[in-house]
């Protein structure tokens, strides 16, 4: 990978390649006599590239992670990793900042699921609701989005980095429906919160390691496909941004404000992707943003990247996905007048 990326273009100056391969085994035994085991392999390959053209430097990368072993790395996957790491870097030389302010935002299928992770996923973790500190604390059963919006947190997506057979309290991981046809349907539970609410555990009780207590955590969070077409969605936007790749996000559970940082994207002008954009933070409010999702495409993709979620000082591997989605308005942290 290192050699191929260094040879990808004469402008490439530095390459970093990181390979992580892990075989995890978990056994949960409790005083009811239950003994549950799971094998949780994890493989991650990440490449980053720094290129220099005429004194200007840009850096970007690509990574792939899965509940798998080294068999994951087929020639096709390695080709994709090299190609995308380079393409994502090269396009930055053409990219600028979008304007600042509120505008329509189109989220590309795949890693844009970071929107769900921040805008609703954390707020639906039952511990925050049990404590009354989540903005979603009194919204269960209420319509919060358009009827074509359904959002799940799925422990069973085959091979996904966030997938688990059982959670760290020994409960089977299923598919938890957070939002069904626009209506808030279920929190994400660990054993404590499930007992508090008198519901069955959802298999979301996860811990970083034996040193930490289990907490309600996400697994693979994604939106189900909707009725629109990707091209139709892009065409519908007069002036806005199209977001393709992301580096990080954050949320305030109670105020509901959340952000995600866009590494690559495009300006949309008169229904077409025109100029590449880079390094811009988007900020919104969870419930308001869900209300403003007014188009959902049929092209759901679960991202293959190595996402990690942090909460209370604990990190756990997660996945996320989204079909192409339009949010009618969000604040884009760019520069200059919109």
């Amino acid at each position: 990978m290192n050699a191929r990326l260094l040879a990808a273009d004469p402008s490439v100056r530095k390459v970093n390649v990181y390979l992580h391969d892990e075989s995890g085994a978990v056994l949960v035994a409790d005083s009811t006599g239950r003994v549950v085991e799971d094998l949780q392999p994890m493989t991650l390959l990440a490449a980053s590239v720094l290129a220099e053209r005429g004194g200007r430097r840009e850096q970007n990368g690509y990574n792939v992670a899965a509940r798998a072993g080294l068999e994951l790395f087929t020639p096709e996957l390695l080709d994709r990793l090299v190609r995308r790491a380079w393409e994502r870097t090269a396009v930055l030389f053409e990219a600028g900042q979008p304007p600042a302010g509120e505008m329509p935002v189109v989220l590309a299928a795949g890693s844009s699921g970071i929107l769900l992770h921040e805008a609703i996923g954390h707020g639906m973790e039952a511990d925050f609701n049990r404590k009354g500190v989540s903005i979603y604390a009194d919204k269960m059963g209420k319509a919060i989005a358009a009827p074509f919006v359904s959002i799940v947190d799925d422990g069973t997506a085959p091979g996904a980095r966030g997938s688990i057979h059982v959670d760290d309290e020994g409960n089977a991981a299923g598919r938890t429906v957070l939002v069904e046809n626009g209506v808030l349907a279920s929190y994400l539970h660990d054993a404590i919160s499930a007992r508090h609410y008198g519901v069955a555990p959802t298999g979301n009780g996860r811990r970083e390691s034996y040193r930490y207590p289990p907490l309600p955590r996400m697994r693979s969070t994604y939106m189900l496909p909707g009725p629109h077409e990707r091209e139709e969605i892009i065409r519908s936007v007069k002036r806005g941004v199209y977001c393709e790749t992301f580096s990080n996000g954050q949320v305030q559970i109670g105020a509901g404000d959340f952000t995600f940082f866009v590494k690559n994207g495009w300006l949309i002008e008169d229904g077409r992707l025109t100029r590449p954009i880079k390094d811009v933070n988007l900020i919104g409010n969870g419930p308001r943003t869900l209300e403003r999702i007014d188009m959902v495409s049929n092209d759901l993709a679960i991202d293959e990247g190595g996402w990690t979620c942090g909460k209370d000082g604990q990190s756990v591997p997660v996945s996320q996905g989204l079909p192409t989605v339009r949010v009618s308005s969000m604040t884009v942290g760019g520069r200059g007048p919109a």
Partner: protein, 441 residues
């Protein structure tokens, strides 16, 4: 305790040399951490953990590895080191990996930095519990407290020791304590949101902590002040950054000063030594000798004798953070790998006076997400805070963003406060910048 840490470090180095390493350095640490968390009057979580560990740097036939273990039993240590040396032989050679020049170990300051509270251990479970109760009671006693949804209070202390031994002539032992108090408050906004905010303090000595009631009150006042927060207009604006929040900006300015970033060409400050990168107000020293300072030290992680040095003088970049390895690769003299404490040129006014002089703009009290590109200097960060109108703090604002480039931002630093934040080693004062891009409506 520290005597045994030193013995283990010496033994690890002896074993490394015996198993065939040409040079080795061993760092052995031990830390006890206790934390008590209360929520709404009930005990939420108790943590007590003692951790030990060995970090071992091996230099074998021109090859280098860095290993760690928590199993310090003599029989385990011998096997660990033997395996480590054998594995190191399989790596690619790296001529730049060597122990530091022993000259750099010399000249340690003869100072008592007072990093360990001699009364550590006198704070017992009852005292921690009373502090947690005081944190919450004070939060619930502020005006408007009927809008408080939840109060979380945390009280913690740590006692840590560390020994470092290098086979070319360094031995050091040190210990330190720290204590912290924090409170987080969630409030109910009539519009359905539940804004949260926090306050916290930490200190090396227990007697230096503020009263828990001050922290509890601070958290409640901050959370309640978020009620009614609105998004403001997109504009170029004067922006004051609260001393507590400013660490986020300073971290992004200092990360590209690392020699590793320079060598990897991921630094927008590369090649700018001696050049003006900020206004005259950007004047910062690295000061490892602050008595009871959170980042104070007599020697750094490689054993280098700590020294004060200027980082920025009247906006001019004077020094990078250079460790021995990347320094050798770049041909730069080592300074130290990481920030100790920062000492800022002090302004003459407090935040209130700075805001009065500023007139109209935004006071940023917290950042939310966002990122800073160390290669290009571009940044885009979520913010919350208050509008400043006619020199006074006005309504709360949120769901906004600031963006720009660090190479422009620090030239627009027009004032700093006389209020270094006391609970962080970066000791940031309130910072005032002109002409910052805000995104909102």
């Amino acid at each position: 305790m520290n005597g045994s840490l030193l013995e283990v470090a010496r033994e690890a180095v002896r074993l490394a040399l015996r198993h065939g390493a040409r040079e080795a350095a061993a760092a052995v640490s031990r830390a006890r951490h206790v934390e008590l968390a209360y929520r709404d009057g009930k005990l939420e979580r108790v943590t007590e953990a003692t951790t030990r560990g060995l970090g071992l740097d091996l230099y074998v036939e021109g090859r280098y590895s860095s290993l760690s273990t928590s199993d310090l039993r003599p029989e385990a240590l011998d096997r660990f080191v033997a395996d480590g040396v054998a594995m190191t032989r399989t790596l690619a050679p790296d001529p730049h990996r060597r122990l530091p020049d022993p000259e750099l170990y010399r000249g340690q300051a003869a100072l008592d930095l007072e990093l360990a509270d001699p009364d550590y251990g006198s704070v017992d479970a009852g005292a921690r519990r009373r502090a947690a109760e005081d944190l919450e009671a004070a939060a619930r006693a502020v005006p408007g407290a009927d809008r408080i949804v939840s109060v979380s209070a945390s009280v913690s202390d740590t006692s840590a020791g560390r020994a470092l031994v290098a086979s070319n002539g360094f031995e050091g032992v040190r210990s330190g304590t720290d204590y912290s108090l924090s409170a987080e408050v969630s409030a109910r906004d009539p519009d359905g949101r539940r804004p949260e905010d926090w306050d916290a303090a930490s200190a090396r000595f227990h007697s230096d902590l503020p009263a828990p009631s001050a922290i509890g009150r601070g958290a409640a006042v901050r959370a309640l002040s978020r009620i009614g927060s609105r998004k403001g207009e997109s504009a170029l604006s004067t922006v004051a950054v609260d001393n507590r929040a400013a660490g986020r900006l300073v971290g992004a300015l200092f990360a590209p000063l690392a020699a590793s970033a320079l060598q990897q060409k991921r630094s927008f400050l590369e090649g700018r030594a001696g050049a003006e990168v900020g206004s005259e107000w950007l004047e910062v020293r690295d000061d490892p000798f602050v008595v009871r300072g959170l980042g104070s030290r007599l020697w750094d992680g490689e054993g280098l004798a700590a020294r004060r040095f200027p980082v920025f003088e009247r906006g001019v970049l004077r020094n990078f953070y250079v460790d021995c390895y990347y320094g050798r690769k770049l041909g730069m003299a080592p300074t130290t790998a990481r920030i100790s404490n920062l000492a800022w040129r002090r302004g003459t006014r407090g935040q209130e006076a700075l805001l009065a002089a500023m007139g109209d703009g935004i006071l940023v009290t917290g950042f939310l997400g966002g990122n800073s590109n160390g290669t290009t200097g571009d940044f885009s960060l979520g913010v919350q805070g208050f509008r400043v109108r006619g020199g006074r703090v006005a309504e709360p604002v949120g769901e906004m963003n600031v963006s720009g480039n660090h190479l422009e931002l620090w030239r627009r630093l027009v004032a700093v406060g006389d209020d270094p934040y006391p609970y962080s080693a970066t000791a940031t004062p309130t910072l005032v910048f002109e002409g910052v891009q805000l995104a909102g409506l």
